[in-house]
Symmetry: C2
Subunit: 204 residues, 2 copies
DNA sequence: AAAATAGTTGACTATTTGGTCCACTTTGAT
DNA sequence: ATCAAAGTGGACCAAATAGTCAACTATTTT
């Protein structure tokens, strides 16, 4: 089968880091190659373009994230607990990245999706799909919470869209302001938004 | 006083459009000059760099937006009405841009801020400041609403952060998915998030 | 061991890009 | 009318960038 190599994986890792820490537009193929320790010839042996690499890199990463989310959103966990656990998870991820890179970086998919929304069609499509899948986790937790009578959410899909927008907004604000504390509001915001019973304002 | 020119303004307009329609990283100085109908020599006569131009362009635009927001958030308007009016305004702006450019483009500041968060310090600072100012409109409407007894929000700053994150999340989703309808949820989301009385779920 | 497969390398090209320079032109003020 | 300030044009440069290619090397299969 000829010689084997992990250059492909190194390239995917490199582009992920560079885009997340900087931006898609500001990362060059030369930079990616240097970070991955791979020559340009090899880059073009594996990929056709930066966009092509980005798609592969995102897919690979999503595979990993998905299993983490599967366990965070396990139906064995009470639905509101799942959301709380997800908030904690996001906080932990950002805290980790900050201690490693010195910056809060937010959600790589959301930032990238926003950046290239009018360019790179293939990449954009993939990002949309993955974000849609992520929203499903929230939707199902919300539906279960409604079924359990913990919240009132007759339209779980709509609620999930709202909650998802809020989460992504928070993460992006955390990136823009480089402030981890911003994410500290996530759980409270979730409860407010869903009107979780027991934490509601005292009715007037 | 020598000759006068609007080349400076044309450059600011051009960079705003290019960044909004594409991204900061993908717009080049040559492109900006071409769109503005200005030669590079003149560009560098007025500005030191792309980042320098971007700061000026943002400031200029913010001056205009601010007066619009001032009237949308006039204290003479009932607070919840202000928020509803703002949602409508956002929708109109996006609908307009879509019919002009063919795409929903979201909030230029938020997208830009997310893109360059780890680069271009001066620009980033300015974006943070303006976003902070925008949040103040929400904060004051929320405070007034609380005072009027229309909502329960003992910490208006916190509520404003939550609502702002939600709005920005929605706008960015609208950009990412190029879907205007996403913004149709804004008013409902606002009411849910603030627990506006009269639209609350029936208590169990 | 040979052959086929898989991956590497670095030198190379063409283009784009940011940035400079300065002679030139237009305009308002005197 | 003239002079200085304000702005323009475009040639020019160096560096960065995307992308190509053919010769080379390492590994597995037969």
């Amino acid at each position: 089968m000829g010689r084997v190599s992990d250059a492909k994986e190194r390239l995917m890792g490199a582009v992920r880091e560079l885009i997340w820490e900087g931006s898609y537009g500001s990362t060059t193929i030369d930079q990616i190659c240097e970070k991955a320790g791979v020559k340009k010839g090899s880059f073009y042996y594996f990929f056709d373009s930066k966009a092509d690499l980005a798609v592969a890199a995102i897919d690979e990463e999503w595979g990993r994230r998905r299993t983490e989310l599967d366990s965070l959103f396990s139906p064995t966990i009470p639905p509101i607990e799942r959301l709380r656990g997800y908030c904690d998870y996001c906080y932990r991820v950002q805290a980790e990245i900050r201690s490693k890179c010195g910056c809060v970086l937010g959600c790589p998919l959301f930032s990238l999706g926003s950046e290239i929304s009018t360019q790179e069609d293939r990449l954009q499509k993939r990002i949309q799909e993955i974000l849609d899948q992520k929203r499903k986790y929230l939707e199902s937790a919300i539906r279960d919470a409604h079924a359990a009578g913990v919240i009132h959410a007759p339209d779980p899909a709509a609620k999930a869209r709202t909650l998802f927008a809020y989460y992504q907004g928070l993460l992006t604000e955390a990136r823009i302001h480089d402030k981890l504390e911003i994410l500290g509001d996530a759980v409270r915001g979730t409860y407010e938004l869903l009107g979780v019973k027991g934490t509601e304002p005292v009715p007037a």
